[in-house]
């Protein structure tokens, strides 16, 4: 279908990343079997630092959702959740994950030889959407375990002190329940240490992503989606810090040597919205065949929490988890993307309108048109979904992308 792939240099750290992730899942599985540690389920931008500092092993159902998407199992599992009353129009992470549980079909088996680890507590943060609460509440009822969380303000412009006070207090309010489940007292020093590790992980992840500002970019969005795993599921641990130190060293070398992740970079693109997990390879090959590098994304930038500060752990955590792109208003989002545009110098922006995730689909209130006018950078919207491939037309998406690149080449 596409042209012959160009020679590219593989990222060597990938193997280490795989073993770091495998070790963390093994730790979860061992804990389930030996009942040696308590397991907390956490939303991807939930208070993982607090949970880790109290000795919980943390499991992220959204990571499982992404695995269901990239293994293309999701579309077969979603109907099982639909039959339980979850609409096909709501988050397909949620529906595929619950479908996976209901049918006993998980990619964790093939990847790590384990089942979904059952929770002792489920902790959400609604900073990203309401779906995560409904998702966790369902499992809470299913396992008869507490589903607790933080209710974040949404659509925020400038962040106000009262909002930070509120979120910081909500984090503190989780502690008594968590203490009773963990059987240990909250320890401020351990918490500070975890927050510090999490910030270090974020700083490294941020500087790895920033290397894509270079032309040619030494890695790209599709690499970012693979290597972001530890920044999501292991932030707050030394393993994550070590991993990103290793990755950064390699990427620095690639950047210094002028390595292009796609072989021949002529155009640069920004990707807004969720990945289409089951079609990462299709898109990656397509862009490469078009000599186009996707250099940055809203999505992979979302796990940068450099605001974390061990000297003011609760309030800095409140800030980090409130300043998130997804929780902000349109004006902020435009400013954010304008800043990235000046740094990454992309020629065009692609918005992915993911049918089941309105929260991460930023095209729906006229932003592409406003940004195009504001930046003078052409935009394209493609329709699809993060996990439900029944909502994605491959041929139409390819034609859209090819036509967009033709258009950008006319200008270039």
């Amino acid at each position: 279908m596409n042209e012959v792939k160009k020679e590219t240099k593989k990222i060597q750290a990938t193997e280490t990343m795989k073993s770091v992730m495998a070790a963390s899942f093994k730790e979860l599985d061992d804990a389930v079997k030996s009942k040696s540690k308590k397991i907390a389920w956490c939303t991807s931008v939930g208070p993982a630092e607090l949970l880790r500092s109290m000795g919980f092993l943390v499991y992220f159902p959204e990571n499982h959702g992404a695995m269901l998407g990239s293994s293309r199992m999701a579309a077969d599992l979603i109907p099982a959740a639909n039959a339980k009353g979850f609409s096909p129009d709501i988050c397909s992470y949620l529906t595929s994950d619950i479908g996976s549980y209901l049918t006993g079909n998980t990619p964790l088996k093939k990847a790590y030889g384990m089942e979904m680890p059952k929770p002792d507590v489920l902790v959400f943060n609604t900073n990203q959407c309401r779906d995560v609460k409904d998702w966790f509440d369902w499992y809470g009822r299913e396992f008869d375990k507490p589903s607790i969380g933080v209710f974040t303000h949404r659509n925020i412009g400038e962040i106000k002190n009262y909002e930070l006070d509120d979120i910081a207090q909500q984090f503190k309010d989780l502690i008594p329940t968590l203490e009773s489940i963990a059987g240990v007292k909250f320890d401020m020093d351990r918490f500070r240490e975890t927050v510090k590790l999490s910030r270090q992980c974020s700083e490294l992840w941020k500087s790895c992503l920033a290397l894509s500002e270079k032309t040619p970019s030494p890695w790209n969005f599709f690499d970012h989606t693979i290597h972001m795993g530890p920044a999501v599921v292991l932030r707050g641990t030394k393993e994550a810090v070590d991993y990103y130190s290793l990755l950064k060293k390699e990427l620095d070398e690639r950047a210094a040597a002028g390595v292009s992740s796609i072989g021949n970079e002529k155009l640069r693109i920004y990707w807004d919205g969720m990945p289409v997990w089951g079609k990462l390879r299709t898109f990656s090959d397509l862009f490469q065949s078009l000599d186009t590098c996707v250099v940055a994304s809203t999505y992979c930038n979302s796990w940068i929490f450099t605001q974390l500060d061990e000297n003011d752990p609760f309030r800095s955590m409140a800030r980090a988890y409130t300043e998130l792109f997804i929780a902000r208003d349109e004006e902020y989002k435009i400013k954010y993307m304008t800043d990235l545009h000046s740094r990454y110098k992309f020629n065009g922006i692609i918005f992915h309108d993911a049918k089941t995730c309105p929260n991460n689909s930023n095209n729906r209130y006229g932003m592409p048109e406003r940004l195009q006018k504001h930046l003078g950078t052409p935009t394209l919207t493609i329709n699809g979904d993060l996990n439900d491939l029944r909502l994605f037309s491959e041929q139409q998406s390819i034609t859209n992308v090819e036509a967009f690149i033709e258009q950008l080449n006319e200008v270039a």
Binding site: T381, F392, T399, N400, A403, E406, Q407, E410
Partner: protein, 273 residues
Amino acid sequence: MGKALFAGVDIGSSFTKVVLVDSEGEIKGSSVRRSGTDFNSSADICLGESLKQADAGHDAIRYCVSTGYGRKNVSLANETRTEIGCHGRGCYNAFPEQITIIDIGGQDNKIISLDGNGNRLSFKMNRKCAAGTGAFLEEMSGRLDVPISGFNALAMKSDATVTINSFCTVFAGTEVLEYIRDGKKVQDIVKGLFVSVVKRVIEMDSLSGKIIMTGGVVAYNPEIVRIASELLKTDISVPPMPQMTGALGAALFARDENHKLDTSLTAKAEICC
């Protein structure tokens, strides 16, 4: 050496179109037939017919560009271009000014906006569903048990258009069944379907400059252009062969590419000598 021809092959979801132009960009032959399941053979048959019109053999073809849904299935093609690019090129050839093209195809609709120099400013394709496309009318022709070739004449007779509300082809079909049950005249239902096609397309993007309509649906149903003009309250132009604009654009690209190749070969030859 005989005359040089440049081929544009547009393999759409419903029809395959071929246009041959000479080095002046003048059309020397064209052909259209159903795409069927074997895109390559449909393209070959169309090409044979076009060459016959041009009174030329295969060896006259210097360069071929394929486009459309099946663009990657044309073995003869030297390169592929998207239908967005080719429709733009084909239309700009007939209307060299700032234009917005509304193309209604068998399975997808496009709105393409070009500046006064023929450069693309933006484009939009319909989302996944068939609402507003030729496939929608084909589906409805089955429901009404009226051949699609009779739609235009029927719509022209209508004096009491019915309203079709649904975005969804299946639900629109249910609405049609309700109208049949209510004893509405077929011509009024067909006109309602045409209005619904036009509405689905014009809501896709804002339109500016001269408005052009193209595509097979427009070629066979000029009443759709009249309805669009009425709804948009503006004149709409249609190029001479509205179903062939994609193939024509591809043929013109073929001519341009060949010209580029020739120029670079000449330049190389000059350097060598």
